[in-house]
Subunit: 209 residues, 2 copies
């Protein structure tokens, strides 16, 4: 579980403000997560998420003081973009990024909770499908949903996935899952806080791709 | 048809050598072709092809004299990469790029030849499927083939596709197709020459993705 645990997310402050710089650092270690899925079929997803991160980083780098927190980014972009907002800028990039993060979070949580398809205990399709249904499906038109269903067959089996998460070290399954649970604490709190911010700021959109 | 015809490929010389610089210039106008397909579902394809072009260009730019023709690239890479070759470098990038070019060529040729699904005369699925079956299918494992089948539903109808090729100008269908036929002359000759080169150089691979 080195892969993810090397980069725990920072604990959330009382104000739930998220420092952009720290967030970008932590999140930049996540795209390799999609390599753990083992197939090049997932490359377009990785690159979509990388694109989100690059876009937020470019805004941050343009003025690190002004954009110190994710909240500040939304507030400033809201006032500068007018009616284009929120389907624009780092606000849009983070809107999609958080869905990818939610996908990862639900998938890991489902594995940590021991949810399984009893008929296929070594497959993680049931966990991936749960994550997809809750985090992404409603934003995808039927064609992308069909593409997802096809891509699902490229998912690795449970033991290979856990091994990949552990950077191919031989780690007992329970140890790996214990580390997943540890990772999920700050990660889930961060993702929740971003969702809350989008809801509070009325920045969430539900158009389909 | 402005889109493609603005950038006709150069006629082939007697030696069938292809100047890298001219080739890269012509080919850089093709990725927008995938925008004509009208859906963001095709973005990963566009970016795969863009990646191929970038990789070949980087090799060319590193020494424009040494890599003056596509043939020289293959010959030099063959001698410098040893047993890694041909699954490496610009040789690999051009191997895949030519398949995308062949896909485009067969699709356009099929439209120019008036091939249609008589039950759905305004769909181009039959033309896309023909191009896919001949240019790409054999290099795709069953999962990517399934993804293709799902993505096919995002293809535009015939009239929208021809309109997009004409850069949204109102052009009579026959005029547009006449220009497609004109474009195909040098384009097909170029793609054929690249395939011939891969065959002569024994540079073709048939592994699956
Ligand atoms: C030869 C045959 C080939 C056929 C063609 C194949 C085509 C396949 C198409 C697959 C789609 C790939 C996934 C990408 C989907 C993306 O379309 C969406 C929206 O993407 C957002 O769009 C915005 C504008 O609306 C901005 O551009 C955002 O960009 S911005 O930064 O510029 O603002 C961008 O992220 N992202 C998403 O849905 C997010 C996806 C996260 C995925 C999470 C994991 C899922 C894991 C599944 C595991 C089984
Ligand atoms: C949320 C749900 C999301 C689920 C996830 C969705 C995943 C969808 C996966 C779709 C695949 C996208 C197409 C890309 C496929 C690529 O995998 C292949 C091989 O790609 C090559 O691979 C090499 C190494 O083996 C090098 O990296 C090459 O790169 S290198 O430059 O580094 O050497 C690279 O081009 N290219 C291809 O098959 C070429 C494709 C050309 C396409 C032509 C048109 C088809 C049009 C179809 C119209 C209907």
């Amino acid at each position: 579980m080195a892969l993810l645990l090397d980069q725990q997310f920072a604990p959330l402050s009382d104000t739930k403000e998220i420092a952009t710089k720290t967030f970008l650092e932590s999140v930049s270690h996540l795209p390799p997560f999609f390599d753990c899925l083992g197939s090049k079929v997932f490359a377009p997803i990785k690159s979509d998420i990388n694109g989100n991160i690059t876009k937020i980083k470019a805004v941050y780098d343009s003025d690190p003081v002004k954009y110190e927190t994710l909240q500040q980014i939304l507030i400033i972009e809201k006032s500068s973009y007018g009616s284009e907002w929120p389907k624009v800028g780092a606000t849009l990039a983070l809107m999609w990024l958080k869905r990818g993060l939610r996908f990862i979070q639900i998938l890991l949580q489902s594995l940590a909770d021991g949810e399984r398809d009893e008929d296929n205990p070594n497959l993680i399709r049931v966990n991936i499908t749960k994550a997809y249904d809750q985090a992404l499906k409603r934003y995808h038109g039927w064609i992308v949903q069909k593409v997802f269903k096809a891509a699902l067959f490229a998912a690795p089996c449970r033991s290979d996935f856990l091994k990949a998460l552990s950077k191919d070290q031989e780690v007992a399954e329970e140890d790996c899952l214990a580390k997943v649970r540890q990772f999920l604490i700050n990660f889930t709190a961060t993702v929740d806080a971003i969702y809350e911010m989008y809801s509070t700021m009325n920045a969430e959109l539900d158009y389909l791709v």
